[in-house]
Symmetry: D3
Subunit: 237 residues, 6 copies
């Protein structure tokens, strides 16, 4: 029995609310149960120096956590004077995941920056961030289309992400914090609407795992991502 | 005529919503029109080193702005590696303002950290922060009372803050961004429920101002703060 | 009775000595009693990036304190790796105050940087800095005039600053450290030669103050600034 | 045909040389072809503050690259003033991988720090680092055993890592830089001597990949890791 | 002919003024011509952690330059966020030089921090700093003696420093900036009152120099230091 | 008797191995006994901003120490966030020393960066670095000559460096760590192939030294450098 009484293949209540910030070209408040992330997409007509003049654009991401998003207050990174290792790792993952589904040539020489700020954290902030980030990105692309800024189609497919893990010996989908801190194994899957894999990250927290355990997690993840992609489509409809 | 069509002494729509974050001992989403600030109050049983063993507590504040709270994206301070001058100035002001209305001896050897994170900025983020911070602080104090952690009364009075300015020659209350960027003079007032002054900051953006102009702003501020204090009381009722 | 035996409306001995550093385009050693600040004004034919090409110049300020300007040694900010919150707040105030009295268009596309370094601190370093900074700035402008670098008049009026406070229930002018650390209320006023207000900062250190108390401080400040402006005029004569 | 003319399942020439640094409790110069990493293991009788008094030890890793390990000189991180995102990500991975195979309780309240410094980089520095780090760690554990510092067995199993990727449509093992920069998909596998998985990281550089492609990479990795574990055993014999 | 018309073995006008800062236990304004350095000595009853409990004290130095001490404004190190390489090198030299002439055991478990802040720079700031620092240090030691804080004699000898160089083929003493920037060779000598050497630093700016040239510089330095030691004795008399 | 049983004027076993890193334009693994430094020289067709357009090139150096090059692990400077004072001092010395023997005009508008990374430290890392750096620099210059990038001769002379010290009252050459930590006086000499002096740094660790002692050290250094220059010539033959 999971602490949340969910079935092993059951997602938390997921919501994707668009248009939550007035100024951004795209935005989404994504909630996976008690994990809440505010995502904004910003379009800028400039590129990082190393990318200039190559006829293509860029998508990058930044991730942050409000100090009291967590059970105990976490030190504000701006006041600590640097981003921690976990933050850097997550924002690199979000950026890579989004870039895998966008046609950077079709975007033109522009940059879209996706900011994912965790308002409340109850496990799975990186997967919630990616899932919401794709919605904000799609919104931003729609904003550009409405202004005739794009000649071709830019987004190749949906992108969503989910965590899985082995909890008390059973593979389960979408770990919350209570499960995550107890799980033997933790894996994050970023996949496309077609079910292809963009990124897999599996870590044995305690005991190394077998191939079969890993395949079971991957099967769960496919189901979960398919459901998230449906929700993304509804949100953008 | 103000851009927002408000009367000179009219506040924006103000709301103070408590309990918006699951883990914090006190929290408040404060909105002054399109300015939205999420405030949390964190209680910790520890003190900064320079304050230990003196039989009294401390209240401090940190302030941040989500990158896309603004019309154009602002660089994330955690990634820039330091807090800007404006941030530092504002969080010092919030901390001083709250400390003026709390009995630090009665608080005991504990620290309350108030985090003010601007979700959306349309002028007046520091005054909205202070007004909401007092609600989160009061909530945190109530949380402590419910657990019998306090022997005496801790909060001496309400604290609220409002900006005033001279816009097109007329003193007006609660400037939004459109007014703020055009105003000749800008002043922030932090006051108590009794109408006494905790902090005054008046700045001539363009032309130095006269005593009379300043007194007119102060009179407006008194009205505005009185209204904000009413709203705080309703929020906490 | 004030610790210094001064009358409530009596300034400390103030001196403004020009030309104290060989290389600077303007300089002033300002002393308010035992508070000594060395101010230099540097003219540079370059602007911060965000100001280029707008046909106007800029005045900015930096503030520092020698480690043993204080009773106990203060850590050197260069070795700590960053400027503290108080430093940032003060240098922003000095810059704003000077810009309020200079015609940036008439200055042309140039920057004047005013450095205020506290040699010895006995209260009121920010107000002494502003008062001396205006002299160094005026010297720098005269240096430019002598080289026919300016077509029009650049300085609109004098700028001087003074602190006031309520000490043992009495409003007093120009607080030294002994008074400042005991005062109930502390206010800094930056004013022009004409007596108009550029900046007001009033803070209740202990008990919030009333309107009447604030007006009494403002009246004292007017007297003090008028005297400082006289001394500036004598220094530049 | 691979640029290096290797068969798809062929490792580069791998060597693991122990005892390469005089002072370290364990050390290993690991070479995967032209990728050379110097690994040292340092034993210290102290722990990070958050781990004290829990009756168990810690293994952590740091990663660095000499500036001219790369085709073009890379900026020295010590002079840049911070470790880049890639560095942080890799050193976290190395630390996690080693901790998965060590019994931290049996280690006692001590810390082993593994430093991986890349002397020359030709692809696969993180997998070479992990493979060499395990040898240095085992050497350090042997050093402790020889001094009767350990009561129980500490290392549960070998740990080795290898990269795989899809190059020109074919799954290949142990990518060098020429392949890595062209590969469609890149995955790193950290496994135990028994063939169980500690960490999987798969990333679609260009096109998202299918389950079958991923399984093919995993099968290759198993073969590669088995060979690396043999080499580790020979090195320690 | 030297630009300053001095004889080859002639010092600039040197003055050593004590007691220039109110709070410091020792202080000295040292002037070598247009090079002016304000030195303070601070006594603290605490030690750096690595020195605690060893029954001896420590003398350390910090060096800084006011931004407009130089012909063109130099960026403030506190605002740049770190001390430059030249600063670090100089303050390490000052500290070493002073420690060579003090009995750290006799000092007891205390630290003296000597701050050298350059008000105006015209060459030779490090040698002027050392010469003035010894006066401030001696003053601080006298302050301690007057309070019976020292049982034994602490200062073993005077310490003074001077630069020499080969200018237009002639060895000259005490280079000012005009000479320093043109000199072929530049050497700094730190010596004791007895004429023994504490530190020698010779650098060929353009052409490597011969032994004989170096010995000529050393002979000049001996003369110069002897004169500086006389001036130190007069200052402290 | 020296701890290493060497004669007073005997160097440690010195080796200079070229071509140790695949990508660098010049490289050298230099060993002075157990002190091992890996040096690379990188040629870049760009200059620091302050040197552009002056028709001459630049040679600069960076120095680092692997964390476990030392008896106890030293904190990684990249993770500490800055280079320590000792590092900065040494890399400035290496750069100055090399520039004294190269014709920067003949080099053209290019920069050569010499990286000296200490793999193992047993005293004398700075002198070993300089001696090896000259070999790597010469290799880099040869690389340029082979590509017809240089019109004129660039290297004026060899540069090598050695430490000397007074150990148990006897002047000795090439101190290892055991001697260095006990020596009364420590001096580093950087000299040319012709025996002229580029840099002299002598420091009295405990007791100030006499002229005669200094001359004895200098005579030893001449002998040592002559031997090192022979070894450089053999290495490059």
């Amino acid at each position: 029995m999971r602490p949340s009484r969910r079935a092993p293949d059951e997602l938390r209540a997921v919501s994707l609310e668009r248009g939550v910030v007035k100024y951004a070209e795209g935005s989404c408040m994504v909630k996976f149960g008690d994990t809440h992330v505010l995502v904004t997409a910003t379009l800028e007509e400039r590129l990082p120096p190393w990318l200039k003049g190559q006829g293509r654009g860029w998508v990058t991401a930044e991730y942050g956590m409000l100090p009291r998003a967590t059970l105990e207050r976490t030190r504000r990174e701006a006041s600590a004077g640097k981003q921690g290792g976990r933050t850097v790792e997550i924002q690199r993952l979000i950026g890579r995941s989004l870039r895998a589904a966008i046609d950077l040539e079709a975007l033109g020489e522009r940059q879209i920056t996706v900011d994912c700020d965790v308002i409340q954290a109850d496990g799975g902030t990186r997967t919630a961030s990616i899932t919401g980030a794709w919605v904000a990105l799609a919104d931003c692309v729609n904003w550009m289309k409405a202004r005739n800024m794009l000649k071709a189609s830019v987004l190749r497919d949906n992108v969503a992400a989910i965590s899985c893990g082995i909890y008390n010996g059973t593979p389960v989908l979408d770990l919350d914090y209570a499960e995550d801190s107890e799980a033997d194994t933790d894996a994050n899957f970023v996949m496309t609407g077609e079910g292809r894999i963009i990124e897999v990250q599996g870590t044995a927290e305690k005991t190394p795992f077998s191939d079969d355990e890993f395949f079971a997690l991957m099967a769960l993840a496919k189901k979960g991502v398919a459901r998230l992609v449906d929700l993304q489509k509804m949100a953008l409809a």
